[in-house]
């Protein structure tokens, strides 16, 4: 049993009033001398038992009437099979509203959500007092999602739900049917009775079906559970019929590593989601709020266009990059943001294993050439962000490990304990290490100090070199992780010739390597891992099973070599900062060193607000953790660190919504009802209330309880009158 206003149950104590009055009256009496005492005593003696019974009965009726009145005012509702006996069978109609980003699409002058709200309001006001309802909202951030609770409908509808309804606005998120249906299952199960859920949504195809148009298992399972809970789901389509929407679907730099004075371009993708050609689409490109360029393009219906906006950052730091369109039917997908970390230059330390007498070259010659020169040319630009320093192996221990962001070990022969510790410290600080094996490598020292039975930073136990000196037997490699940042470009660009690389020398791991860490392997019988990644501390290690020069392969003379290095080094540099561009709701964390500590940190939101943040001491006690909870509005968020001296410095991250939300491709509700047999489609009409209600449901006890109160009062009056007459008759 549930109550619409359970607080009123506190007034049940009013039921004591008749008893208290009775007791008070017995204590507050008047004294009166009385002559006709004999008759009074006789009357008392003759009628005392009956009087007591009458008093008790009347007292009971009065008390019961008050208790039931309070009970009725609390509007009790019960779920029972015996409902028809108890009173009017109430309806349990809940609404589910899709408040995702796509519902901000305008249909004439009103958005989809506003029209959904109108229909929901109409439905709620059509309910009768005593009916029960609830509102579930999908596509909102957790903090903005109204609490799901059943509410009893009053004379003016369900006031709390109507209030919540007025507050609803479209979010920047996507609608996840399985989540909200699961909430509906919980409501139907928790409240009991037969519930009908009316879902008001634009039925975005991507929310309901997979790309190949089949069921999404999670939705099917949720619907089956809803059906098992005895609930119905009725679909009401509220989307625009002919959407005209152009989406700015992506904004990304041409490279993962952005450096000052190095030309870079940002790729902007524009998709026409409608069926008609949209001319004069103006695309603006902004850096730190200033327009850097704009283009006017024409995009045919259903087509997409990519634009490239070149730019040279002159200063290191974090830049706010934005691309935007002129607003259209759906403004949620008309802009995207990117927080670009601009580095001054990337210092790369190459520890060279030595001279190759066969090739008459040093181990790192090809490598340095591929990374390019960081010198600023006469046009004021640099062609490479890398500032490479090469030191011979014998200067390993004296080399500066503070400045470099990446250390490349090129066929280093001996890895002593001190060298290994130095590398480990570098990794602990978040550095990136790339290792090329080779013929000079002393497997024993690497095994002892680098691998350390799997406890060290080197990912596998190095074995002996496997080399065909005649260069007649060679292998190719195959990409095991094509989505990995290092390989994603190369895997989609076969012209680079990665597949043409012929390898006739390599080192085979003696220990088993976790498959998840293998990025590439050889096409030999054992599928020898040849490119392996391992995280260690805050840093990351990439180990290439072959050399950086031509001693064991022709890799350096293929175009893939340059590509590989220019994809690998950004990954080694940015592996921990790649999370600067986040999805909606994704939290952001950063390690703050003691040198970076600032007493005040504020998060400046795109809307202009400031949210104070606090640092927490990290486990190692040497640094601090900064955790920024997930943000639910897109844009660039700036972190401002304020020193006690008044100096400030900034960092930033961007948040973007799902580009597919602007697709505005709707699934036909009839098709959906066919795909998921447990849903019913009501075509845009609020006729759910006319449906015949089925057997078991919930009963509003207001009428029966209040009727009982009236009956009790009538009975009390009648009995009091009857008792009076009986006394007069002397019965």
């Amino acid at each position: 049993m549930t109550f619409a206003t359970p607080a009123l149950l506190g007034f049940l104590s009013l039921g004591l009033i008749p008893i208290v009055i009775y007791l008070i009256n017995r204590q507050r009496y008047r004294r009166r001398p009385w002559a006709a005492m004999e008759f009074l005593l006789r009357a008392m003696k003759r009628h005392q038992r009956r009087l007591r019974l009458e008093n008790l009965l009347l007292l009971l009726l009065r008390t019961l009437a008050i208790l039931l009145f309070v009970f009725a005012m609390a509007r009790p509702t019960i779920t029972t099979d015996a409902l028809p006996v108890l009173g009017r069978q109430i309806r349990q109609e809940a609404v589910i509203i899709d408040a995702s980003a796509s519902t901000a699409a305008r249909k004439t002058s009103r958005t989809t959500l506003e029209q959904a709200r109108d229909q929901v309001r109409q439905l709620l006001l059509g309910l009768e007092p005593g009916d029960r309802t609830a509102m579930l909202v999908g596509g909102l951030p957790p903090a903005e999602t109204p609490v799901v609770r059943a509410e009893l409908v009053g004379d003016a509808g369900p006031p709390e739900i109507l209030g919540d309804l007025e507050q609803l606005s479209s979010s920047w998120l996507s609608f996840e049917p399985e989540v909200v249906i699961s909430e509906a299952v919980a409501l139907a199960t928790g409240e009991g009775g037969a519930w009908t859920f009316h879902l008001f949504s634009d039925m975005q195809r991507a929310d309901w079906l997979t790309e190949d148009g089949s069921q999404i298992p999670a939705i099917r399972e949720a619907l089956e559970r809803l059906e098992a809970a005895g609930a119905d789901l009725v679909l009401h389509f509220v989307g625009p019929e002919r959407p005209r929407n152009v989406t700015l679907s992506s904004l990304r730099p041409s490279t993962g590593l952005i450096s000052a004075d190095v030309p870079i371009s940002f790729q902007v993708s524009i998709e026409n989601r409608g069926t008609e050609t949209v001319p004069g689409i103006e695309v603006e490109f902004l850096i730190d709020g200033a327009v850097q360029g704009s283009r006017r393009i024409v995009v045919d219906g259903g087509e997409s266009r990519s634009l490239s906006f070149p730019h040279i950052f002159r200063m290191p730091g974090v830049a706010r990059v934005e691309a935007r369109l002129r607003s259209d039917d759906l403004d949620r997908d008309d802009a995207r943001w990117f927080a670009a970390e601009v580095l001054e230059a990337v210092d790369v330390l190459v520890i060279d294993g030595g001279w190759d007498p066969v090739e008459e070259s040093s181990e790192s010659d090809w490598l340095v050439a591929a990374l390019g020169d960081d010198a600023v040319g006469p046009t004021g630009v640099r062609l490479s962000p890398y500032r490479v320093e090469v030191v011979p192996e014998d200067r390993f221990l004296s080399a500066d490990f503070q400045s470099p962001r990446v250390i490349v070990l090129a066929d280093v022969s001996t890895l002593g304990e001190a060298e290994s510790e130095k590398i480990e410290e570098f990794l602990q600080r978040g550095g990136g290490v790339m290792i090329f094996t080779g013929s000079r490598m002393s497997a024993e020292t690497w095994k002892r100090n680098g691998w350390r039975n799997g406890e060290g930073w080197f990912p596998w136990e190095p074995g002996p070199a496997i080399v065909d000196p005649r260069r007649q037997i060679f292998y190719h490699w195959q990409i095991d992780s094509p989505e990995h940042p290092v390989l994603s470009y190369l895997s989609g660009f076969p012209e680079a010739g990665l597949g043409d690389v012929a390898i006739h020398g390599f080192r085979r791991p003696l220990s088993k390597v976790d498959e998840a860490d293998v990025l590439m392997s050889l096409d030999d019988f054992e599928a020898t891992p040849v490119l392996v990644q391992k995280s260690h501390g805050q840093g990351i290690v990439l180990v290439m099973g072959t050399g950086a020069d031509r001693e064991w392969s022709n890799f350096p003379i293929t175009p893939a070599y340059v590509c590989f290095l220019h994809e690998s080094l950004p990954w080694l540099v940015m592996h921990d900062g790649g999370g600067r561009n986040l999805a909606l709701g994704q939290p952001w964390s950063r390690k703050i060193s003691s040198e970076e500590y600032a007493p005040r940190i504020n998060l400046l939101t795109p809307e202009g607000g400031a949210v104070p943040l606090a640092l927490s001491e990290s486990e190692d006690g040497m640094s601090f953790d900064l955790m920024v909870p997930g943000r639910w509005s897109p844009g660039v968020y700036e972190l401002r660190f304020e020193e006690d001296t008044g100096e400030t410095r900034s960092d930033a991250f961007s948040v973007n919504g799902r580009a597919s939300e602007g697709a505005l491709v709707f699934v036909d509700p009839e098709e959906l009802a066919t795909m998921y047999p447990s849903v019913m489609h009501r075509d845009d009409e609020i006729s759910g209330l006319d449906q015949e209600l089925s057997g078991i449901g919930s009963g509003d006890l207001w009428y029966p309880v209040f009727s009982t109160v009236l009956l009790l009062l009538i009975a009390e009056t009648g009995l009091a009158s009857f008792f009076g007459r009986a006394r007069r008759r002397g019965e």
Partner: protein, 300 residues
């Protein structure tokens, strides 16, 4: 004095402000009762005295039809009294008679009625005496027809205030013993005593040849039990206390009191005893008129 004004002056609340019993009696009798056409206390006689013209209210049995035949006018035959009437007023002054819901207690009301009767009787040259009792006779004025006897009667009636219980049966036996000649005994009491002994005592008086008129003095509270709040009733005359909800017990009480009165009336009727209820809320002249009319009816 108009009848309305007279009625207002003769009600108990007004007369309570008059302290002297004689003055009260005079006001009652001269203000109202003297208007009666004939004394209800006339003795019975067959000796014709004179004719008088008929006025409405006269008993038509006394119309002289012969005269009517001759003169076509109605005349009433009047007869000479053979003997003087002797009246013994017996006043109950027990504790139960002290109950009062208004300006006048039952005892005061009864005293006033008794005094009025004495005034009336002496005014007709008849003889009247008074006895005041509770559990025994407390004061007595012998029967006399002297006009100056009124002072003695009133002194006796006013002398005692109710403090003790009632024992009417015992007292009536004493009264019967003292009355040597037949007389009219007027008993003014609330009759709150043992009913059997009471009726027995009255029957003895009737057997002794006396006429008996009982003026049953009752307070309106005792007749209607109008209380509403929870009340602790403190019994007079040694009765215990009783806490009661008057509204709940009212009907039962009224049944008891009515049954008591009905039973008394029945016993009195069977014994030839005249009974008149004297509700203390009613004006004295009304009560006296009814009593006198009842008495007159019984002597024809």
């Amino acid at each position: 004095m108009s009848s309305e004004e007279s009625k207002r002056l003769l009600d108990p609340a007004s007369l309570a402000k008059v302290s002297g019993l004689i003055v009260r009696a005079r006001m009652i009798v001269e203000g109202s009762i003297t208007g009666l056409h004939r004394s209800p206390f006339h003795g019975s006689s067959v000796e014709f005295a004179e004719h008088r013209e008929y006025v409405p209210g006269d008993d038509i049995r006394h119309v002289d039809w012969k005269v009517f035949g001759r003169s076509d006018r109605y005349y009433i035959k009047q007869y000479e009294e053979e003997t003087n009437l002797r009246v013994q007023l017996v006043l109950d002054a027990s504790e139960s008679m002290t109950y009062s819901s208004g300006a006048m207690s039952k005892l005061d009301y009864a005293r006033t009625l008794a005094a009025s009767l004495a005034y009336l009787i002496l005014g007709q040259q008849d003889a009247v005496g008074a006895i005041v009792f509770d559990d025994k006779i407390r004061a007595e004025a012998p029967i006399s027809q002297s006009r100056s006897h009124l002072q003695d009667l009133v002194r006796v009636l006013a002398q005692q205030s109710g403090q003790d219980a009632t024992d009417i049966g015992e007292v009536l036996e004493r009264v019967s013993d003292r009355l040597k000649r037949r007389c009219l005994i007027v008993l003014l009491t609330d009759l709150f005593d043992d009913q059997d002994r009471l009726v027995h005592g009255l029957r003895q008086l009737r057997h002794a040849g006396h006429d008996v008129l009982v003026l049953h003095i009752m307070d309106p509270d005792e007749l209607n039990f109008p209380f509403t709040r929870m009340t602790l009733f403190e019994g007079l005359e040694d009765h215990p206390e009783q806490l009661a909800d008057p509204e709940a017990v009212r009907e039962a009480y009224l049944v008891e009191i009515r049954e008591f009165m009905r039973s008394l009336r029945k016993d009195f009727r069977n014994s030839g005893i005249q009974y008149q209820l004297a509700d203390c809320s009613r004006s004295f002249d009304q009560v006296l008129r009814e009593a006198l009319v009842r008495r007159a009816g019984s002597t024809r």
